[in-house]
Point group: C2
Chain length 346, copies 2
């Protein structure tokens, strides 16, 4: 099954490879190539079922037509949805998307980015980084390698970023709970906690409590990404223990929320009668969970679209001025944040 190359078309038509290449790349008119000749070439290409070899073309042009996307876990609904949009958008522009999961391991992410850039010669990368160190990114930005950060802002000078207003979203969520007359609100964070989107949410949470004169000492726990089930059970248990007495739990993202739900169900505690549960990140599953969860929803499609836009400004327009796009996050009220029915402070 030999593959058809430019040369095959050229030979069978008694013309040069150059001409064929020009025509097939739509530069026929521009170079004033005979209309009939063009048609012949195009027909022949179709007849022989010709497909350009991306590797040869890439080698010659220095363009791979590959965009990389690096996230913590592509099977997480949040990233899966974003990746769908990113794929759709870059495909429209003639690129292919290579998606990798870092498993929230800094080293792995570092390697993945190297691999994408150096081996695959990706032309740009979109990343929700888990790295604490900024050296790799600083270098990338310095050498003007196209890169856009999503979800997690590494706060590096010159970096372009797309995300939501985490502070505001968390702030509003806490105020919503307070409106329900709930003032004992625990926050369940997840380590690695240096991730900007998480710390911003914590800030929003603190700000709201402060505004209402509520203390948050002892009300924040962090579970571990690498041992979620056990650490979540513990965190929930401690926060709702009488000594602590939280009447609402705010899970810092969907992953934590799912584990909180499981932990709470295991303990045979009712939501929202015994404790309310809300979280950042929305998903379909939360519409019909037991009970439906009140969440802060992020505009996932828009995040993907904006990220591609910013990346293309760098790749195509060579515009490396750092841009930041902060989108609004909106509260979706469902049953889980209902006011606690029985007596308080018990």
């Amino acid at each position: 099954m030999k593959r058809v190359s430019l040369k095959d078309i050229a030979d069978s038509l008694k013309v040069s490879k150059t001409l064929v290449s020009l025509v097939l790349n739509g530069k026929g008119d521009q170079w004033g190539i005979n209309g009939d000749t063009q048609k012949k070439v195009i027909n022949k290409a179709r007849e022989l079922n010709y497909h350009p070899n991306q590797m040869a073309r890439g080698l010659r042009t220095g363009k791979s037509n590959i965009i990389g996307l690096v996230v913590a876990d592509i099977s997480n609904h949040f990233y899966a949805k974003i990746s769908r949009t990113v794929e759709r958008e870059v495909t429209k522009l003639g690129y292919q998307l290579l998606v990798c999961s870092s498993d929230e391991i800094e080293n792995k992410e570092h390697n993945l980015i190297d691999l994408l850039k150096d081996r695959q010669r990706a032309e740009g990368i979109i990343v929700a980084t888990t790295q604490k160190k900024a050296s790799q990114f600083k270098q990338l930005i310095k050498e003007q390698f196209p890169i856009v950060f999503i979800d997690r802002n590494p706060a590096i000078k010159g970096a372009s970023y797309v995300g939501v207003d985490n502070r505001q979203g968390a702030f509003e969520m806490v105020e919503h709970l307070i409106e329900q007359k709930i003032d004992k609100i625990g926050l369940i964070n997840i380590s690695p906690t240096h991730i900007s989107s998480l710390s911003e949410r914590v800030e929003g949470y603190k700000k709201a409590l402060k505004k209402h004169g509520i203390s948050y000492s002892n009300s924040i726990h962090a579970v571990s990404y690498f041992d979620v089930e056990k650490t979540t059970d513990e965190a929930v248990r401690q926060l709702i223990a009488p000594s602590c007495g939280m009447k609402a739990l705010f899970a810092v993202n969907n992953y934590v929320a799912v584990n909180c739900l499981q932990a709470i169900h295991k303990m045979n505690i009712r939501i929202p009668e015994d404790v309310s549960l809300v979280c950042f990140d929305d998903m379909d599953a939360f519409k019909f969970s037991q009970p439906p969860l009140t969440t802060v929803a992020q505009p996932l499609e828009q995040i993907g679209e904006e990220a591609v836009k910013l990346l293309m400004a760098q790749i195509i327009d060579k515009d490396f001025s750092p841009r930041t796009k902060i989108l609004p996050a909106n509260i979706v009220v469902r049953k889980s944040s209902g006011a606690i029915k029985h007596e308080r402070g018990k």
Copy 2:
């Protein structure tokens, strides 16, 4: 920011490109190249931060190191999980994974496969096909292009396939319901219904009912992938209407199940008191849904692993003998299949 090439290393070491290539590809010993020279080369490569250009290498060797995965929708939990495993496994073997979503559109899938094979020169493809026509696949198999089918068996001579025993899984689920004294069991299928995994489940469903002497005329409805919400509402409404009187609904996959849950919640009907709901495909979300769902769980990791194994038999060992791996599907009993509490046949 010029990239470092083999030549740069060769020049700075006053040796040939050949030698450098040989050493860096681990063929130094095999060619009897001086140990010291090898070390020098390796160190220099590291010092200059050398990375081979995949495109150049691919052009020369005819190998792209790319594997393609084509599914209906990568943001569906089922495919997302499988893709994670596939990615992990092919990465171990030095390949990169390119994932594409067909959106259940036959033409799109056809193009995606062409693109993967012809443009990207993917060395093999794993696909959960939505195509009714077999021509593309027959051609691929005829020319010994490495391809493995997952989840959906196209039933083409010579095709390799990995999936679960859908018939058995559906059969057991229906028997489980019957054990709960539920004998009015509706099935909600989804079009395109020609997909093998779906039709096998329908068969299993029918076989179980037949065994117990229960008729299934009027008890099967199919919703549409392209207008799920509306069609699911209708299907559920009709099946549980007094004229039909189903006491359990069996959703043919997770996507249908999610929509059934939403439809049922909207109608203010209780599960399982008013109607039971079970489905094929398990996900975390079903553990804590309202109520937790009884499901048929597929071994997702294993499906991914086996698919890669079969694909590699073709790519590496050039063994194109068709292999089929049917894995068991297991029932996970939760609350949603509980016996109906109130009087029957009303």
